[in-house]
Symmetry: C2
Subunit: 475 residues, 2 copies
């Protein structure tokens, strides 16, 4: 496939580097010094990079030592349109943004004259079937706000949407006791990641380090399908795996000791290893949640906003009816959930409420990002670049099978991953990629995940493929 | 006391209105229309105000109908330096802010070259005894991050700070079971407000509406002192109340079924009714937490950043040693917690961690706010204005005792409140104050709380006092 003659990325970044520049080993001396200084006031033990954001451009992130890396990790999958995107500079410098920054409203009580316009912009890219939004501050927050909505919805189905609360409820809740504070659950899946606050951590199940020592809610985990790769050669086994996992979901919905108000799932389990499931699995999940009266919440925190070739990843599944709530954050630089059913709005005001109810500054940015993704057709571009990249990676996997197992993400744009034999080999690969000027991240214990921006193009893919081959050929 | 000849407020806002302007009843026709339009896409049933933030100036908030109100509620106690403060406009328009907005970092892995400087600015106003900070996104988030730190601290005291985790711990935590996910508690107080996510809501105990239908952790609540007013006339009874409440705290620490990793308290219970407690009570609490090996977390989300006449409200108490963690948000327009003990940093990286680890854009703003508060001595100014205002309110309370009971907040700057006989009278008062051009908020069921900005001066206090008298004299 020839490279396109007009590059969106060149339009944004006429001065984007044409190749990585590596001037020191990583971490370089200035990086080490900066991370050590920071560590005296802020826990920066995980800071393996210290960036010079002013110098970073498009797909290239520059560190304080002057190294310029092609970035296919993009702030843990969260930079949408490249570093220092000029369209976003305009938005950030606008009077509207200035006001949102310095006059931060208590949005539930004191929205601004422009709040409806800001929300309307977010709704232009709402998932199919969704026409309302509630706003939050991070992916974990978005999920917990959705849990709150689900629990209120569940109880209001029981007592009647327009019914008030009983004295028993209003008194017991002040003691954190039932019936005012009922025992209810959210079901999630093994290997899922949904955040690290207490309720979201109770649904997270990818690594012990995320939640050791935290008290948690005893909520059920079903099994997410574990497919055999390549998919084409394992159709029957993977269909059987779908059936097995759906049976576990149904059994938990039927037998769990407390009611399950909602089932929460990622379209692709990302932090947990880029685990995919079929359209049939997701339709089965939609069917079984309807059968048992639970809401279906799709967590698009990592997969949303064009990354998989559609604006929302779950669009690939064509679920009917659509999911009840869709949570977002990361590439949208904002957070919250979309929904449609008016009964997902709590039956009284001040229930889904807090001082800020989100951040209009971040919502304005999200609207601008959504508009660029649509105007420049960047989800489709990501699909095109993914279709260009995937066969090249497949060829590398054929050549270096010991270091590229279970390649996954075909037809999911650049949302691609593969596995190493173990964590130490994978970690060595991630570190070695720095020597060829590429910043790449891992997922699960043994996998590599590609999470470039939406302005990652064929020329960047060529550099990435050459870099991978250079490293793997040295093993 | 004469008005000062040089007004900080006039320096910031040479064109601030000299008096409120009321042109419609509240809500006016444009406000109603805007709130209804917004409600189609966003739950705005609590939006009793729709602001024109571009036109708002200093202490005056303008609505879409053109009414201009003196604002002593300030976005639920969260606007620090007045609307459209020119110093903050400068910061918001700076290249540093633009970069923070559009290149939002995953701060734990990829801090920027300027991150240390941003953090250092926050530390310049750190509470006495604190020299480190961890950042979050809202008051609820700040508190839950502090809980996480407290639970990790507690368990690491048990197993040894440098010890790793047992296989039993890493396996059981993935099932949300002990010992990896232990049963531990945070103690809070009746009438407390600490946020509305699941763990923070489990410590919140001010109104049922905040948490009905949410599953919760079964965590203990002690009693916060209920003083008799005026304080001067009830010294012995209030000392006895301190002793009674401290005995309850100690008894819970001794007898609660699971270990209490931390005790969480507001310096003044704000949402719960502006309930104050003495220096002796706070020192007693500090002593008893040390005796039983629990951390003391002071929630300064509403009280912090100059509002009570000192930068942090708990400075009034002179607790020795200082509290272990101090959480902040609201007027700081950012969120997180301060601490000192190095063992409050979890024993391994990636434990207190998430994608964004706060928002440098909001942290830059917080640093600029802190600097202005210090440079212009605004905490001291708030104390001066409070000392001017309080006796005037005392005189009104003497004149209208049926509508101003239990005046509280003496020597706490403008952080002042009083009670009505019941909720309906209080609510009528809040609505009536709009007719004289003043926006004021309530707390608990029956109280009024004053929460002006830090640029509220004597001339504004005069308008407020005249407005209150006009309304009360009409009853």
């Amino acid at each position: 496939m020839p490279h396109p003659t007009i590059s969106v990325c060149e339009g944004y970044f006429p001065e984007e580097p044409v190749a990585p520049v590596v001037v020191t080993s990583s971490p370089g001396p200035k990086l080490k010094k900066a991370a050590d200084a920071l560590n005296k006031v802020f826990d920066s033990r995980a800071a393996y990079f210290v960036a010079d954001y002013a110098k970073s451009q498009g797909n290239y992130i520059v560190d304080v030592d002057g190294n310029s890396y092609l970035d296919v990790y993009a702030q843990i999958a969260s930079i949408p349109l490249g570093y220092n995107n000029p369209k976003l500079v305009e938005v950030a410098k606008s009077d509207k943004m200035t006001s949102a920054i310095i006059n931060r409203p208590a949005l539930g009580n004191f929205p601004g004259a422009d709040t409806e316009e800001i929300i309307a912009e977010l709704l232009k890219v709402a998932p199919k079937g969704q026409d309302k939004v509630w706003s939050g501050l991070s992916g974990a927050d978005a999920n917990e706000l959705a849990f709150k909505a689900a629990f209120m919805w569940y109880q209001s189905k029981k007592r009647g949407y327009s019914s008030g609360f009983s004295t028993e409820e209003t008194e017991s809740v002040m003691k954190n006791q039932a019936p005012g504070s009922p025992e209810l659950a959210i079901m999630s899946f093994e290997r899922a990641f949904h955040g690290r606050l207490f309720a979201s951590a109770s649904t997270t199940c990818s690594k012990p380090i995320h939640k050791l020592d935290l008290p948690s809610f005893n909520w059920p985990k079903a099994e997410f399908p574990s497919y055999k790769y390549p998919l084409e050669a394992n159709v029957a086994a993977n269909q059987e795996e779908d059936r097995r996992c759906l049976a576990i979901v149904e059994n938990l919905l039927k037998t769990w000791a407390v009611p399950i108000a909602a089932v929460l799932i990622e379209p692709i389990q990302s932090e947990g290893g880029d685990n995919h499931a079929s359209n049939e699995f997701f339709q089965g999940l939609r069917d079984v949640t309807l059968k048992y009266g639970s809401l279906l919440i799709v967590d698009e925190v990592q997969t949303g906003v064009g990354a998989t070739g559609t604006f929302w990843a779950h669009e690939h599944f064509n679920m009917s009816p659509p999911p009840d709530m869709v949570t977002f954050s990361k590439k949208f630089q904002s957070a919250g959930y979309y929904f449609h059913d008016p009964e997902i709005i709590p039956n009284q005001p001040y229930r889904q409420f807090n001082t800020w109810c989100g951040d209009p500054a971040r919502m304005i940015l999200a609207g601008a990002i959504g508009k660029e993704v649509v105007d420049k057709d960047l989800a489709k571009q990501a699909a095109r670049v993914g279709n260009y990249l995937y066969p090249k990676l497949e060829a590398l996997a054929g050549k270096y099978p010991a270091y590229m197992a279970d390649l996954r993400g075909k037809n999911r744009a650049t949302f691609i991953a593969w596995s190493f034999k173990d964590a130490s080999l994978r970690n060595k690969f991630l570190a070695d990629m720095k020597t060829v000027g590429i910043n790449v991240g891992g997922c699960a214990e043994d996998s590599v995940r590609l999470r470039p921006t939406l302005v990652f193009e064929e020329k960047h893919a060529d550099i990435l493929v050459a870099g991978i081959e250079k490293i793997l050929s040295s093993y």
